[in-house]
Symmetry: C2
Subunit: 338 residues, 2 copies
DNA sequence: AGTCTGGATGAAAGCGCTTTCACCAGAAGG
DNA sequence: CCTTCTGGTGAAAGCGCTTTCATCCAGACT
């Protein structure tokens, strides 16, 4: 408890004005005459005044805090989006309160509950799916919500066309002559982003008149280790794939590691493509062909949209960011049929 | 502004008690008789009461919020520590408010200022070094601070013996017969963790009667790309090293990628050791010899220590966590002198 | 001159909670 | 039987700020 802080009333006294005027100097400076404003500012600076956020929140009903609920921070795509969100929000005077739930829908609901209790002014979420309890909390709070990566129709959201991403990666492999294409995704049951990508892969195959044999699709943890395991599983098949699509780059990189550890050459023996375009994907060896997802921009745009909504500014409330294929060295022509 | 929320006074009315009693039911339940407590709880549950955090903070002077200032979230070691911190704090009813500054000391001070204004009850910081302004903010706030990774003597802290980590990695390479050992660290100027590790490397070399030629030490970004560039630089020397220590695993992995891209075999042609022990380090190929740093535990312990301090519980206020060498396949005997 | 506007400021009532202090049994002690 | 506790509860005063409403004073307009 720091009760030795300068209070607004002390600034008022020092500046010879009422507390109301000091308050206005902070939040609505254009209401004051330039001289008064300058006088108040001088007094505030001189005393080192810092408004108390809790008091402001209580009195105004706005906490100037936005909550973000992410699956995990332990993955560059989310931490990057978060970083961008924070930067954007900070510019508008908002603070970000972060919670993560490690891909558990129940924990996500709990995060939402906590953030609501904290009095956030809005919530930024990942994905569209949540348990009924969470949905109810959100709707009864009446707070603005911006969803990212995926969203139900009509809800304010910053999206990525996950299905298109899967489609692009797979079409690229098909174009190189691959016919036996494996896919390793994260758990699709709790992850609509991964599901969308998986759908894209299937669609590309269908376009080419192919179907995806169940054996060639597997789900793994969205980590490098998951990628290795998934790859091992696919390579151990009687008829292993000549190309693999990873649901995220981390999985794809894990694939490459596993394949290389088995003495396979990439892309000569196996082509690997990812989705995300992590920083590191350009630097692994061989560099990873992937579908670029503008992760940081998702964060920026979600933050921008949230602020616009809070300010009642008109504008589109759904935004779909483009994804595009980045061809690097991890994919190549399908080996001639043995 | 959600003014349709249930207020404490409504719960009080429903339960037939005073607001004070409801307040006590929430924060000091043992003061109430079991019957009253049960009655209040029932009323609160029934109405779906959620206390308003801002009002609690204002009235009590405690926000139940801890601020964490990290260099970046975009690095597994920090996001992991953060995740652990959050989990630990949540268990004690605290919330984590995160800020990151991207390795800028000025931005760090700004983060601290913002968090203080938000009324955090304590701060968890990384490293011991900050600009005077930040130090002043901290001391004049009078809030408890826990430092992590590095700290000046006496300050509450959860430490890692960075120098020892550098020492262990280097001794291991010396033990394998390497005499020409390169080191790639992050920028040591603004990063006392990296500086400690670097010191450890030098000390190990001195123990062995060797000195580190300036050409064999370089600083790079703490990323995979930085590792590649540093490695390229060292390998391009007239007399390249036979082994390289990376200041963090990401750099070490970048080294391996670069070396392999140049057709070198690891560890036959070049040994590489890192420090951190990222999850992925066990899964790259070859698996990385590294010094394990208990990253998640740093977060847990820092959180635990913070809560203990806030509760005035006695106990040690500095804790040094052990680091230990993990030998994997990226290091091997020095090649015979050519 | 007299009225009207509107810009600049102040007074004061909260925001929803915590916490001190007072109070009131009834138990314990003299 | 009266005092002294003590555990349980309530009354009420804030916590530091925002915001409505009222006030005041120029200047603009009739």
């Amino acid at each position: 408890m720091v009760r030795n802080r300068i209070r607004l009333s002390e600034v008022a006294r020092a500046a010879g004005v009422s507390p109301a005027t000091v308050s206005r100097a902070i939040s609505q400076p254009d209401l004051l005459s330039p001289e008064t404003l300058a006088r108040v500012r001088r007094a505030a600076d001189h005393l080192g005044y810092r408004p108390d956020a809790a008091a402001r929140a209580l009195a105004s009903g706005r906490s100037m805090t936005i909550g973000a609920v992410m699956p995990t921070l332990d993955n560059a795509i989310f931490s990057k989006a978060l970083q961008a969100m924070q930067a954007q929000l900070a510019g508008d005077g908002y603070q970000l309160l972060v919670a993560s739930h490690d891909y558990s829908k129940a924990a996500e609901a709990e995060c939402i509950r906590t953030l609501l209790a904290r009095g956030v002014d809005g919530l930024i979420l990942v994905g569209a799916e949540r348990i009924a309890e969470a949905a109810q909390l959100l709707s009864q709070s009446g707070l603005p919500v911006v969803m990212t990566w995926c969203a139900p129709d009509g809800a304010p959201s910053v999206l990525v066309d996950n299905e298109h991403a899967g489609l692009l990666a797979t079409r690229h492999l098909l174009g190189l002559g691959h016919r036996r294409i494996g896919v390793i995704t994260g758990a699709t049951r709790f992850n609509d982003r991964q599901r969308g990508r998986y759908r894209g892969v299937r669609r590309a195959l269908e376009e080419a008149g192919l179907t995806l044999p169940p054996a060639l699709a597997c789900e793994q943890a969205t980590t490098l280790a998951g990628g290795r395991m998934g790859c091992a599983q696919l390579l151990d098949l009687a008829e292993p794939p000549t190309a693999i699509v990873g649901g995220i780059d981390l999985i794809a990189i894990g694939c490459m590691v596993e394949a290389q550890a088995r003495g396979l050459a990439i892309p000569a023996d196996l082509s690997v493509a990812g989705i995300d375009d992590l920083d590191m994907s350009a630097h692994v060896s061989p560099s990873l062909t992937t579908v670029h997802v503008p992760t940081a921009r998702i964060g920026t745009e979600a933050a921008r949209m949230m602020v616009a909504i809070l300010r009642d500014e008109p504008g589109p409330t759904t935004l779909t960011l483009p994804v595009d294929l980045i061809v690097r060295r991890s994919t190549g022509p399908a080996p001639a049929r043995g």
